[in-house]
């Protein structure tokens, strides 16, 4: 039931041993259809907050409650792929895990690639992609998993303005497909598309509507 999917942060705080608090007392609730942007300078804990939401790290204080979240996908700032496998293979792989045939997975993978402007690169090796293309490929691959929660770290850092705006719009559309999209970014285009903002750049993190 999609209306049950929800991620809630309750008095969330985190610090690494021997360091100051990155953030503390964060309270927010994330629902399907929302795009949440996490901003702040380098080292302010954006990626750490994403890892707490993914459940890959335990918070120092408070808690993250994930209700109905079965599939979490993370798109990292530095795209990772298997150098000599094709672009279509990268997107088709999660679909094969879902039981699709090779033919069906390939067809669907090419549709997803086209959505990110990568239709012409489908048969290229991953190693032949530019940084921006690889970043978009990772978004397409993440979508192939049909995630409930999509965590995206600096998705537009390696893209030109036009492509960055396009990706930001795509991420917004994704949210409309009942996906919770959390983006760590400085990009004003991304920030402007967000449902609301979590700013880790202030002394005490603030959560507010954009």
């Amino acid at each position: 039931m999609t209306d049950q999917v929800c991620v809630t942060a309750e008095n969330l705080g985190h610090r690494f041993p021997g360091t100051d608090w990155l953030f503390s007392d964060l309270n927010f609730s994330l629902n399907p259809g929302e795009v949440i942007c996490v901003t702040g300078p380098s080292g302010s804990g954006k990626s750490t907050l994403l890892s707490l939401l993914a459940g890959w790290e335990k918070p120092t204080s408070g808690a993250v409650h994930r209700t109905g979240v079965e599939r979490v996908q993370w798109v990292f700032q530095n795209p990772y792929g298997v150098p000599h496998r094709s672009v279509a293979d990268h997107v088709g792989f999660p679909l094969l895990q879902q039981g699709l045939s090779r033919l069906d997975a390939d067809t669907k993978a090419r549709d997803l690639l086209a959505r990110f402007g990568l239709g012409a690169t489908a048969d290229r090796e991953f190693s032949a992609l530019s940084g921006g293309e690889a970043q978009r490929l990772m978004l397409a691959r993440a979508l192939a998993v049909s995630p409930d929660l999509l965590l995206v770290d600096e998705p537009t850092a390696q893209l030109d303005r036009v492509m960055a705006a396009s990706v930001a719009k795509t991420l917004t559309h994704l949210a409309q497909e009942d996906v919770i999209v959390v983006i760590a970014s400085h990009d004003t285009d991304v920030v402007s598309q967000a449902s609301y903002l979590i700013d880790l750049g202030v002394t005490h993190a603030e959560v507010g509507s954009e």
């Binding site: 990626s47 890892s51 993914a54 890959w56 790290e57 599939r71 996908q73 993370w74 990292f76 530095n78 990772y80 298997v82 150098p83 000599h84 496998r85 293979d89 792989f93 999660p94 094969l96 895990q97 879902q98 039981g99 045939s101 090779r102 090796e125 691959r141 192939a144 998993v145």
Partner: protein, 352 residues
Amino acid sequence: MRFSTIIDEAQRNVVSGTTRMGVGFLVVSALLAVLALADLLTIAGIQNTTERYVASGSATRGLVAAHSVDATACDALASIDTIQSSGAMVSSTALRFSAAPAVSVQTFAASPGFSAVLDITDPVPGGVWMEANLAATLHARVGDIMPTQLGVIQVGGIFAWPQDGRDQRLSFAIVIPRLPSEAFDECWITAWPINDANDILLRSTQLAMSSPGEIGQINTRLGTNYDAYAEFSMRLTRFTPLGALVVGLSVGYALSRLRRLEYASALHAGQTRSAQLLTCAFEALTWSAPSALLLIVIIWAVTAAFSIGETNAVLGIVGRVPLIGAAASILGAMIGCAQVRERNFFRMFKNR
């Protein structure tokens, strides 16, 4: 994930070079080859030592009992599995060849089985057996007819009797085959492996037990108690299967760890652990199995080419190295793969 898809994915990884199949094949093959050849050479060394020991007469023992050895019983000992050859002999009248009348050649009479003790193959019936140095001196060859002071004789066989510590009575001597119709002085047996029971068998050929004959080794220079089995079972390279296990596990594990980001990414993309382990095992199989096959062929070829014992027996011993190495490679790859956690994905990216 369907089984056919798992195999298909593994094949694509192999074909694309993602699995580093070539590296795995070369490294594992090279290391296992060193281990296998080390064991093979050690076994060949033991085999050579054994052959030299037997050929030198060190594995030949003789019962000396004047005029009281049953030559028929002595010849019959060769039918026992552990006894390679047996035969009786007795001193005879010295011969003088017309070509060298001043030289008196020591002569023995021997039962037919004695030709095998002297390692003469296909002796000419009715001919005498001549020691190789004597034959060279007289320019005699097998089949030659040679006049002596007792009449002509035919050379029925030539045997080597080097001066390497063995009983020198047969050096520069003639042995004349004689039917075992009367008592002989000595019974010799060549037996391998050496067994204390052989002496009991030797004594059984003595006709009169009033004065027990003496038993001795024909050549003692290489020792009286060489134990090839102990040398084989205590050889240092007996641990090579263990080495193969370590090599296989290490190489398989290392190649898997090089791909840990890929494995973590695959888990993140929804691949199940079982599907991943199966893919990993199949990928490792594609380089470890050809490696094992190649090494087994090499071991077989080397064993056959250099006649290192029985090919099948040696292959059964040394062949364990590539087989264990291949199986361990697959296991090592699976262990390396199983250690990857999806949650490590984040940490790996932070540390990249």
